[in-house]
Amino acid sequence: MTALVELDDVSKFYGNIKALEGVSLDVHAGEITCVLGDNGAGKSTLIKIIAGLHQHDAGTFRIEGEETRLASPREALDRGIATVYQDLAVVPLMPVWRNFFLGSEPRTGVGPFKRLDARTMRETTRSELLRMGIDLRDVDQPIGTLSGGERQCVAIARAVYFGAKVLVLDEPTAALGVKQSGVVLKYVAAARDAGLGVVLITHNPHHAYLVGDRFVLLKRGTMAGRHAKSDIALEELTRQMAGGSELEALSHELARAATPEFPGGHRPE
């Protein structure tokens, strides 16, 4: 089966800075590909290439087997790639239903009287959110009044509704508590079960391992590892993610401070 999205040896330079070098990944329908990396590892650059915000400078980018170079986010959307950003997924002051259809508003009427099909928009928003298990008492409330997890879910529901084949999620759990993260991961799994290919960007190997089928590790703009779930255990993923030997060095450093001076001079008896 051809991958929905396939990157092969892709690089991106900003001037003389290598933001990304030689990264490969593939995303298949009904599977979740996790991209793991610390801050500055090149995760954002990778998303921007897949989402059509930036173009790659080397390597190949294929959508359903066809080599492409996306010119704009609009083109990415038209090709079935929907991206949900952690902080800029929604317009906080706008009602939920206006946010849900933003950029793809259905209209009725003819000629100059063409108008938003507000009734359909409200009803569809309600039913689509209900289908994902979110029962909003009021789709007219500003989306900024929803919790962070709910907002992510609205954005995911929107992408699924608009027929995305590939869903790119940028750190969907980064700013969330444990319970909210669980809720979001549930919807990520629901999107996968609906037959979408999912790219999940995260720096949390525990979240990644719960839902992921493939793992790509980024480190300082280069690919540090590429594994299928069957090839790697959570401990190993966590170790690689945390930087392996760097973690050992860190634990060594921390160990030297094992009997610290307690501030205020109170030593425990």
């Binding site: 800029l88 906080p92 002051l93 933003l102 793809s104 508003e105």
Partner: protein
């Protein structure tokens, strides 16, 4: 009288949202409360204020600001300012006056040329903004001064003085005056045509904002431009379009100015851009964008009209007028902020 500017019926809304909370969420609420207060105040303190002829004077004063306040409100909802709006009105008037006079063409040719050139100013503002990504405050402050200079410079260069020559005897003047500066009589009340223009603009702008796709985009580019861009909203085009809307209204205002007097003072218009912004802000438009309404801006302009004329009817020294205007802006903005906070807390 204030019933003419009430918030539109919130049709199709879900029923379980209480009326009070629905009202609280409307951007116009603060300005409507303010308008009622100002109206009552002058109705009590200024005896001539309630006469029909005063009403028409007040509405006329409101409409001259209101025509510009509507597109300025849309622009503010879209997250930007236009400080060049005030002098652009005079530019539009100067262009059509001088073109008609110098080319000895039919007045309508000048009016048409003025429309094209003024719209080009709007495009220029929008393109400069979206290309340079500088704040609109800086961009339009620049174009504000440039237009001020061009108005004076070209008028002196062409006419030798700071005002244009009268075009009252030129072909097409009378028909153009009918469209831009005539008045209708409704019973015993004179209705200036600008009031019709104003109300029509409010209706169109409200329709665009609440019922069209472009309206959705305007709220989105002001509320979160990056999110809007990410879901495929044409952010650049929307912003340029908003600046063209301001330019279009400046053209209407400019033609009114020209055809009500037949000659134009090239130094006029400076400072009016703040009146438009005040009307929009009093009407509930958020300075940071993403929230507001055209009806609110109309109510803001109406408050402006009532205050400017009410002070005269109350026979106070009009020197105090600007103080009231400033105080009104602060009070209304505070009230709006307070109302919105309460509305958001409750939801």
């Amino acid at each position: 009288m204030t019933t003419t500017v009430k918030a539109p019926a919130a049709d199709e809304r879900l029923l379980h949202r209480s009326l009070a909370r629905r009202l609280m969420g409307r951007p116009e609420l603060g300005s409507v409360v303010g308008a009622v207060a100002v109206f009552l105040f002058f109705a009590i303190t200024a005896e001539p204020f309630l006469r029909p002829s005063s009403l028409s004077t007040v509405l006329y004063a409101s409409s001259t600001i209101g025509i510009m306040a509507v597109p300025v409100a849309l622009l503010m909802i879209g997250g930007e300012f236009d400080l060049s709006a005030g002098v652009m009105v005079v530019s539009a008037a100067l262009i059509s006056s001088m073109f008609s006079y110098q080319m000895t063409a039919n007045t309508w040719v000048g009016v048409g040329v003025s429309l094209l050139v003024t719209l080009a100013f709007g495009v220029l503002n929008g393109v400069l903004l979206t290309r340079t990504k500088l704040p609109s405050f800086i961009i339009t402050l620049g174009t504000f001064f440039m237009l001020t200079g061009l108005n004076l410079g070209f008028t002196k260069l062409i006419d030798g003085t700071v005002s244009t020559k009268s075009i009252a005897d030129m072909e097409g003047f009378d028909s153009a005056r009918t469209l831009f500066a005539s008045h209708l009589t409704l019973g015993s009340v004179d209705i200036q045509i600008t009031i019709v223009w104003w109300l029509a603009l409010v209706a169109v702008a409200t329709w665009i904002l609440l019922r069209t796709r472009v309206g959705n985009w305007i709220f989105a580019v002001g509320g979160n431009a990056d999110a809007a861009r990410a879901v495929g909203v044409p952010v650049t085009k929307t912003k340029i379009g908003l600046y063209m809307g301001v330019a279009f209204a400046a053209w209407i205002s400019g033609q009114h100015l020209l055809f009500s007097y037949d000659a134009i003072q090239s130094g006029d218009g400076v400072g009016n851009e703040f009146l438009y912004i005040i009307a929009a802000a009093v009407g509930g438009c958020l300075m940071t964008g993403g929230f507001g309404s055209a009806i609110g801006a109309a109510v803001g302009a109406f408050i402006f009209g009532m205050t400017s004329k009410g002070i005269v009817y109350a026979q106070w020294n009009p020197d105090w007028y600007k103080f009231f205007l400033g105080a009104m802006l602060l009070l209304a903005t505070l009230l709006n902020a307070w109302v919105r906070k309460r509305a958001e807390d409750k939801s």
